[in-house]
Each structure stands twice: as C-alpha cells, then as structure tokens.
C-alpha cells in the first residue's frame, strides 16, 4: 500500500521573512534544485501532451481494430529500396497464426508505401474532437451556450485512402487500439485524477483541521475521533470496499472518475487534517489572530483569511507528494478491476490490462503494451522530485 499521508514537513515553520515574500524566496531556492527543475519541465511536457491529446494522437480514444490486435510497432522508414530519401512511410502489416507453434506471424507487405503526413485533417464524425480548453466545459453547458468548436487537425497520420492501414507508432493492444494514442488519452485521467483527488483531500483536510484546531472542544474531539477512525481502517480496505460499492452501478466514465476521486480523497484527508490542526493550534496563539479577533472578524473569516493561508506552504508540499501516490493507487484499483472502465482509459488500466491479458509471456513478446509502465514511473518519480524540491525550498533550514 502506498502511503498517502507524507507528513514530512509537519511543523515546518512558516514565518514571514521581512522584505521578500515567502514565495519569491521559495521560488529562488527551488530554481537551485536541478532535479526538481528538470521534473517540472518533464511534468509540464506530459501535461501539455495530455491537454492536447486529441491533436497529438493519430486516433480517437475509443478507436478499436479487431483485426490488428497486438501488432508490433510499425517500423518507420525514410528511404526507398534504392536508398533515396522519400520522407517517412510505413508498410502494411498482416497477422497470421502458425497453428503448429501458435506464434503470431506479422508479414510486412512491401508492395506499397503508406506515407506519414503531418498536420492531417480527419473529417469523420467519430474523429472530430473538441479542442482543449473548451472540452473542460461540461457538455450540457456547451450546448446551452452554443459553443461547438469542432477540430479535425491531427499532428500526424498515415495517408491511406482506403483507411485500412493503421499507423501503430508504439504497437497495438488487446483490442487493436493504438498504444501511443491511448497513452496520451490515458494521461488525462492518470495525471489529473491525482491532482483533483489531492486537491479535494487537501480542501477537506484543511477545513476539518482548521475547524478542529480553531474551535477546539467537542468539535475538535469529534473531528479528530473521526480522523482516528479513518486511520484505524486500512486504506486498501476502504479503497477496495468503496470502489466495489460504486462499481456495480455501471456508471459512465465521467461519473466513475468523480467517484474514484471521492474514494481517494476519503482515504487521504485524515492525515492532512491532523497536521493542519496542529499548525492552527499554534497559529491561533499568535498576535495576528488576536488582532483579527479584536477588530471583530468572524470565525470563518479568521480561519479562511488568516490561519489557513499560513499553512499554505505545507499544503503545496503535501500536494506534490500526494499526487504521485494517488497515481499509483489508481493503478492498484485498476489491478483489481475497480478503476476507470473502457472505453475511457488510464495508464493504470492499460498496465493492468496488459498484465492480465499478455502477462508473463507477453513481457518479452509484446513488450510494447507495457509502455504505460514507463509513463507511470516517470510521472511518479518526477512528482516526487518536484515535491522534494518544493519542500526544501519552503523549509528555511534546508536552504542553500
């Protein structure tokens, strides 16, 4: 089980230095951290790919091709038989099965070249897409407002008038989907589910911790008792049991995404609440709280405007450490068949599907379907390094 509450900066001082703001100092510190800087760059690139997945991916998310399951990656060629430069092209590949050895044999048909074109348009009804960031607006609202900006442009695609030849840059999977396209679409779920769930956890954790720490007394007792109860129930149980509850409802992918977020944040908020409570307990003894009270600010205002912002540096660090753990937890849910469901996809779902259907033999023969593993690895690693960098940046003792 991955631990979702890295209380590493518990009690990190948040005193405001005179002159420069905490954040500008932190930013300067952060820039001195080469691994964190590189991580920020890589993550930025991954999020960019996710945002414009429709444009970068040659095929739509629900693309299937039952006749080319587990096709190895197409070899991209640039020169013809006479070694003349003709630009990138591929040959068509067809599958047959040797009934003696049961090997799948892919034959390359060299009779015709299928050139790869850049900035192609695909006008088909199912291939049009709503570009980022308009696709963030819920469909209902979009219809109401009459926004219909369809886009048809893709970065690249194979030029085949009959549309029978498919370009599998990174091979195809068990339903003949393009692994490359699926990874880009899966990035949307995998990279955002962690952030959204972390934000929700932090919001709940901060509010609960803030209330408990500020008011004390029976409210504190009640909230902290509940946190204790959540801590007493193993995370894996809560995750699986809650998911198993929602799963049979057969919900659409978007609702499932929300539910996974709810499940993850239910598991994740307790530790944050406890730390925030501790910080608020010490902050409320400070002068500025007394001053705010003196001028008659309401309790809610004091919590929201004065106490919580002072825990912000802690929260930023926790966010960057919780996100990767949620990315991993999402893959664990998929391993148990309780994560995102097709036709939507995520890296965790792709990896666990690969494990279930190609398994131990596929690892050598169909290595390309395990590509999502590399992406999970990269994103978890970089988020963690980013978190380390942020922690050092916000922690005055760690400064260089």
């Amino acid at each position: 089980m991955t631990r979702t509450n890295p209380d590493v900066t518990e009690g990190a001082p948040t005193r405001q230095e005179t002159g420069k703001s905490l954040f500008s100092i932190a930013w300067k510190q952060f820039l001195k951290h080469p691994l964190a800087r590189a991580s920020l760059f890589i993550l930025g690139f991954l999020y960019l790919l996710a945002a414009f997945a429709d444009f970068f991916a040659p095929y739509p998310e629900n693309f299937l091709n039952a006749y080319a399951t587990f096709q190895p990656p197409n070899k991209i060629r640039y020169r013809d038989q006479d070694n003349r430069w003709v630009g990138p092209y591929i040959y068509q590949m067809t599958k047959s099965i040797d009934m003696q050895t049961f090997e799948e044999i892919w034959t390359v048909d060299e009779s015709r070249r299928y050139p790869i074109k850049f900035f192609v348009r695909r006008e088909g009804v199912r291939e049009r897409y709503v570009p980022f960031p308009v696709n963030l607006i819920p469909i209902g609202l979009r219809h109401k407002l009459g926004i219909k900006p369809w886009a048809t442009l893709h970065l690249f695609g194979v030029d085949d008038p009959s549309d029978r030849t498919k370009l599998y840059l990174w091979g195809s999977d068990d339903v003949g989907s393009d692994v490359f396209s699926k990874i880009l679409f899966g990035a949307r779920v995998s990279l955002t589910i962690g952030i959204v769930a972390a934000l929700v956890s932090i919001a709940i954790g901060m509010i609960m911790g803030g209330i408990a720490g500020y008011f004390g007394g029976w409210i504190d007792e009640l909230i902290m008792r509940f946190v204790e109860v959540l801590a007493a129930i193993p995370d894996l149980f809560l995750l699986i049991a809650l998911s198993a509850t929602f799963y049979p409802l057969n919900l659409p992918s978007s609702a499932l995404f929300t539910l996974i977020v709810i499940v993850l944040s239910t598991v994740g908020w307790g530790g944050i609440a406890r730390t925030v409570r501790g910080q608020v307990l010490s902050l409320k003894e400070r002068d500025f709280t007394a001053a705010a009270k003196a001028i008659g600010s309401s309790n809610g205002r004091i919590i929201v405007r004065h106490l919580l912002p002072n825990t912000l540096s802690y929260v930023i660090v926790v966010l960057s450490l919780i996100v990767p753990s949620f990315i991993l937890v999402e893959s664990v849910l998929s391993f148990f068949g309780l994560g995102i469901q097709p036709p939507a996809t995520s890296w965790g779902l792709m990896l666990s599907t690969a494990q279930a259907f190609a398994g131990v033999t596929g690892l050598t023969e169909r290595w390309w379907i395990y590509t999502p593993g590399i992406f999970i690895f990269t994103s978890v690693l970089t988020w963690n390094l980013l978190g380390d960098g942020l922690r050092d940046a916000f922690d005055p003792r760690s400064r260089q």
Binding site: V8, I233, F237, P248, G348, T364, T378
Partner: protein, 326 residues
C-alpha cells in the same frame, strides 16, 4: 502513567466501535449480499434465497452488526466465514502470520537501508550523492508493485528455461517438499522464496522512510543544542553521529508503534503476483464475496493493533523524552 494508560484504553472503545460500524456500513451499502453470487446457478434456482434465509442475511444490517458486536465482546467470537463456513480465526491467523513473515524482515531491511541513506542525504545535502540516493530510493516507489513483481516473475521463468534451474522461485512461500526438510533448510527455503516479494516491498517503501529520516536529521541539525555542541568545539563527527543521529533515531523509534498493524495488514498486490500466501488475497476475495465476518475480523484485529501501536509509541516517547510527562 498508569492512569494515562487506562484513560487511553477507555478512549479506544468509541473509536473501535465507530471504526467497525463505519466498515460494516461500507460493506452493507454495496449492492447485493453474500448470497448474490449464487443467483446464477444452472441447476438450483432457489439457492441464493435459501442461503440468504439460512444465514439470516434477510435481517436488517444493524441487527446483524449488534449480534456480531455482542458475540465479539461477550464471547470473544469473531464469527464464522460465510464462504468457507468455518471459524474466521482459523482462516485469517495463518495468513496474517505469513504476511508478518514477509513484512517484518522487509520493514527491518527498509530501516537498515533507509536510515543510512537519510542520514547521508541530510549531512551532505545537495551533494551529488544526496541526489543520486534520493532518485535511487524513489525507483522502487515509482513502479507499481504488481508490475515490478511481474517483471521478476518473467525473469524467473526465463532463467529456468535457459538454465534448467531456478534462480528465484516462480512464487509461493515454501517448496513442495517443505515439510520433509530439516528446520534449517526450512528457514533457507522460506528465505529463498522471500527474495522477490522482499525486494518489491522494500524498494517501494524505501522513499518514505528515507524522506522522514532526512527530514528529522535536518530538523535536529538546526536545533539549538547542536549549535551549542558545535560552539563548544566538539568535532563535526561527534556532533553529527553522537548527538544528531541518536536523536533522529529516537524519533524514528517512537513512531515504530504506528507500523504495528502494517506488519500484518498484508503487502498488497505483490502477494497476488508472487503467490505469497498472505492476508491480502483473502481480504480482497472476502470484500468481493461480501463475506462480512472475515472483513470485520481483519479490521478488528488491525484496529486493535493500531491502537496498541499508538499507545506503545506514546509510551516510548515518554520514556526517551524526559520533557514528556503523563
């Protein structure tokens, strides 16, 4: 001190009841019940209904919860598994033991590796070594455990097919001739089977412990008494290792109570893929089958252990930190 312990234990009771109640409700709100899995029966269409009434699943959930709680408190009875019809204790104890057999060495090994890394990283912060070790400790974390275990499984198969003998076993906890071995050979047999799951578990938990250790060291190195020690002219070595490290380890030890339930709550997906007969597969299967008594028994034990662990932590802290008095 004694009064404190008593107060803590009394305080545990509502937490315990609430935790089990929450868990019970979570299981109950899932659609269907244990008998649902028998609805699809080609020869016996009434099976699901019959089982439901025999097991009393048609009674309201709170009645069953209260019965369960009463049996637990009055008779210390954790109940009967709906699936295997036998005693829940008999079902879970061997599997918990198996998980412990894996996780105890794994935890110790994690600390043995993570503490030096954390100390080194804190003392040489921002050095090349610090960065390399930080990345190293993150590698195992960043690969999902089930996938890492699969890679080892494939390697084991490949090795056997190439060489005709096993470098690491394909899974399980013991060899088939285990009961015929001498006790020393039994020990080495289990150790051999443990290699792969141990690597997966240790690498995945390394980053967490390293990070805590590094943080603690940095925190302590910034404390006044360290500065005082330095000012007194003590050598860097003595300051770092005698004062700082000792205090950092004390803090780590004081959190040790918190890992107690983790030792038997199972190693997660790795137990599936490496065939380690731990508690996780039983746990997951029970959740899917809605075998509520198995789940509740597990939660009961884990909750109790968590509370005992926290108590131990508090007591340990009180013993090592003279400022804390109860």
């Amino acid at each position: 001190m004694f009064a404190f312990i008593v107060r803590r234990i009394v305080n545990l009771i509502p937490t315990f009841v609430l935790a089990t109640l929450v868990a019970w409700i979570v299981i109950e709100i899932a659609p269907g019940d244990f008998a649902t899995q028998f609805a699809f029966d080609q020869v016996d269409p009434n099976k699901a209904e019959r089982i439901r009434s025999v097991l009393g699943l048609d009674r309201p959930w709170y009645v069953r919860y209260l019965f369960w709680l009463r049996n637990l408190v009055v008779e210390g009875d954790l109940g009967t598994s709906l699936t295997s019809k036998g005693s829940v204790t008999a079902l879970i104890v061997p599997r918990m033991t198996n998980s412990l057999v894996l996780l105890l060495p794994a935890t110790i090994l994690t600390y043995l590796i993570a503490i030096p890394i954390g100390v080194y990283s804190a003392l040489r912060k921002y050095s090349l070594g610090d960065r390399v070790l930080t990345v190293f400790s993150l590698i195992g974390l960043a690969v999902p455990n089930f996938f890492l275990a699969l890679i080892f499984l494939a390697l084991s198969v490949q090795w056997f097919q190439a060489n005709g003998w096993f470098l690491v076993p394909t899974g399980g906890m013991t060899s088939t001739d285990y009961s015929d071995l001498t006790s020393f050979r039994q020990l080495t047999d289990v150790a051999w089977h443990m290699i792969v799951p141990l690597i997966v578990v240790v690498t995945s938990s390394l980053a967490f412990t390293t990070r805590i250790m590094r943080g603690e060291m940095l925190e302590i190195l910034g404390q006044d008494y360290i500065r005082t020690a330095r000012a007194k002219g003590l050598s860097e070595r003595v300051v770092n290792y005698k004062h700082a490290l000792r205090n950092a380890i004390i803090v780590i030890i004081s959190t040790i109570g918190g890992i107690l339930p983790g030792l038997i709550s199972g190693a997660g997906t790795v137990e599936f893929v490496t065939g380690w007969p731990g508690i996780t597969p039983l746990f997951i299967r029970s959740i899917f089958a809605q075998d509520v008594y198995v789940i509740m028994a597990l939660l009961t034990i884990l909750t109790l252990l968590l509370m005992i662990g926290n108590l131990i932590s508090d007591l340990a802290l009180a013993l090592i930190d003279p400022r804390i008095r109860y």
